[in-house]
């Protein structure tokens, strides 16, 4: 844990803090249907033309059921189109390597994965997917699934900020504006920056080369920069290459690495300011930001500490342990940037990796795993992080209300039975999917046949897979072999459950909150800003996550850690 790491951590947090307000203000302009951005003079005509062609009435708002139905229809059609593209990619253009069509189970898994913003990859991108599939089937979803997530967060925030309202906005308008004014222009500039750092952007066939040792090598090419920009900004995480951001073509140097980490949190951190502005209580927005920042720091420090103190058995093999646990890490990033990246990518639902999480120390690997299980609400996925955090805030004020014996309120809205039911369903769906599928995998030959390790590490691999799938993260404990019918199908369903069966109660909660009156503050109103509120939210998140997942974590990384100390490895 050297001084350079501390300086980078301070720099990262400082920049994150500084971009929060401008990003939040821009999001406010984008997510206000009639809002004007600095791009409106250029893109406004395109927006209006799109509405006319698609038959969208931008002034017509939807109730929560209409909003949810539009989102479901859009996602279903998008998923089916991607399934089709992957199944016939051998017949489509931009396939210079003549890759075969995906198998049905891989196409299902991949289509579910990218539709749900997960980007779990049971395949190696450069050895499986044509350029057409990468761009039309996958990168397209990187934009649309991110826009869907931000739209849902905006709908929930409107539900909180509106009084006696029946509608939450228009899904098609939110989706269009986020894509047009936020994701596309930001990614255009971002991709050009990535190209300037040496990331590839071409349609060339792969290059055949002879290495220094005389062996033949195939060097992959392709339109990478454009895909990597949205992969990070949209917290998608699916790499063009199998090695993801550990590959020098995807993440060539410390600067590209630093910017990629910032870009994962850029929209989520802005959304906390957007929340504060919408509810006219900026202290609340900053309190939410503080809760996220504290959880982020805690995870980063634990992971960094664990990776800086490697397996003591390495010393017996004559390996210098002073540099930390470097297995599975890139030398150009080192311990700190690998630990920081792993924490960020799992605090958000990104899933891009610049080091192999499977090679982390048991406690170091537990941090990304637990981050995902907490719901990826530490800044979180674009949109998904904020709406998960709001669900936990509803649970927190409910618990606080129980403790002081008053009707719980959140920003003047009474929290009643239906609201708590939706929040609890939201929390239980994730736990049910992660633990249920993991138990099924652990108890059957299908689940354990393709693990890379035995014992608790093998259990961590399958627990991580279903946590990542359900949490729509997409990163993996890399040892697991998931490209088979059982894993592709079960993980596909875990991703669909973790996305849509959680969005629906979140939107139902939004619709119900929107209908309520906003009560005036009184002496008995629970404050939703300040230290007490921040600590309460952190406490509820950690306790709910801990109670739900601690038994499973004990069987995986915790027991592996103690067995490692006693000299037993897996």
């Amino acid at each position: 844990m050297d001084i350079f790491g501390w300086i980078q951590l301070a720099l990262f947090l400082g920049i994150l803090f500084l971009v929060t307000k401008p990003m939040g203000l821009y999001l406010f302009q984008v997510l206000t249907p009639e809002g004007r951005t600095f791009l409106s003079p250029i893109l406004g005509p395109a927006e209006r033309l799109f509405y006319r062609i698609a038959g969208i009435e931008p002034d017509k708002e939807q109730d929560w059921k209409g909003y949810a139905l539009s989102m479901l229809l859009f996602s279903m059609v998008g998923m089916l189109i991607t399934y089709l593209v992957l199944r016939v990619q051998n017949l489509l253009p931009l396939n210079p390597q003549n890759f075969a069509a995906n198998s049905p189970h891989l196409a299902f898994n991949t289509a579910a994965s990218f539709t749900t913003n997960t980007n779990w990859q049971s395949y190696g991108g450069e050895t499986t997917m044509s350029y057409f599939s990468q761009m039309v089937g996958l990168a397209w979803h990187n934009f649309t699934s991110a826009a869907v997530g931000i739209a849902i967060a905006a709908a929930l925030v409107r539900g909180i900020s509106r009084a006696t309202a029946k509608t939450l906005g228009n899904f098609w308008v939110d989706f269009t504006r986020v894509t047009l004014y936020l994701l596309l222009p930001f990614c255009l500039v971002y991709a050009l920056f990535l190209v300037s750092q040496g990331i590839l952007q071409n349609f060339s066939a792969y290059t055949a080369a002879v290495g220094l040792e005389g062996g033949n090598q195939t060097i992959a090419q392709g339109p990478m920069a454009s895909q990597i920009a949205i992969k990070m900004l949209g917290t998608n995480g699916g790499g063009f290459m199998n090695a993801n951001a550990a590959h020098p073509f995807e993440n060539p140097n410390p600067l590209s690495n630093f910017v990629q980490m910032i870009s994962i949190f850029l929209i989520p951190t802005g959304l906390t300011y957007y929340l504060g502005k919408m509810v006219k209580n900026q202290k609340h927005g900053w309190s939410v930001w503080s809760a996220m920042a504290i959880l982020f720091l805690a995870g980063t420090l634990v992971c960094w500490w664990a990776e800086a103190h490697p397996n003591h058995l390495l010393a017996g093999l004559g390996i210098d342990a002073s540099t930390g646990s470097m297995e599975g890490k890139e030398v150009r990033f080192g311990i700190f940037n690998s630990a920081l990246f792993a924490t960020i990518t799992t605090d958000a639902s990104c899933g891009a990796v610049n080091a192999m999480h499977d090679s982390f120390t048991p406690l170091g690997g537990m941090v990304p795993l637990f981050n995902i299980q907490l719901g990826e609400l530490v800044f979180g996925g674009v949109g998904a992080g904020l709406y998960t955090m709001i669900v936990y805030i509803v649970l927190s004020v409910f618990i606080a209300g129980l403790m002081v014996g008053r009707t719980p309120e959140y920003l003047g809205k009474k929290i009643e039975a239906f609201d708590v039911k939706m929040a609890v369903i939201y929390a239980l769906v994730g736990a049910f999917s992660i633990l249920g599928f993991s138990a099924w995998a652990a108890a059957t030959k299908w689940g354990i046949a393709t693990l890379n390790n035995s014992g608790p590490h093998g259990f961590s691999e399958l627990l991580y897979a279903f946590s990542s799938g359900t949490g729509n993260n997409g990163s993996a404990f890399a040892g697991i072999g998931s490209n088979n019918p059982w894993y592709n199908t079960t993980l596909g369903f875990a991703m669909l459950i973790g996305r849509f069966l959680m969005i629906i109660p979140a939107l139902a909660l939004a619709g119900n909150l929107a209908k309520k009156k906003i009560a005036a503050e009184s002496a008995g109103t629970f404050p939703v800003s300040g230290v007490t509120f921040t600590l309460l939210v952190i406490g509820v998140i950690v306790i709910v996550g801990g109670l739900t997942f601690l038994p499973a974590l004990v069987m995986g990384p915790v027991v592996e850690h103690f067995l490692m100390l006693s000299g037993k490895l897996f």
């Binding site: 059921k65 949810a68 139905l69 479901l72 229809l73 996602s75 279903m76 998923m79 089916l80 399934y83 199944r87 049905p104 189970h105 196409a107 299902f108 289509a111 579910a112 009707t407 009474k414 009643e416 039975a417 239906f418 039911k421 939706m422 369903f493 669909l496 849509f500 069966l501 629906i504 109660p505 139902a508 619709g511 119900n512 209908k515 309520k516």
Partner: protein, 34 residues
């Protein structure tokens, strides 16, 4: 197998749609507990 995967995908989304009706009926019960 294509028909199976396409079929279960559509079925999943239909079930999601039906859950809207289920929750939609319940959210009319606001305020009774207040």
């Amino acid at each position: 197998m294509d028909i199976v995967y396409v079929g279960v995908t559509i079925l999943f989304f239909i079930l999601c749609g039906l859950s809207l009706r289920l929750f939609g009926k319940q959210d009319g019960q606001n305020g009774r507990e207040g």
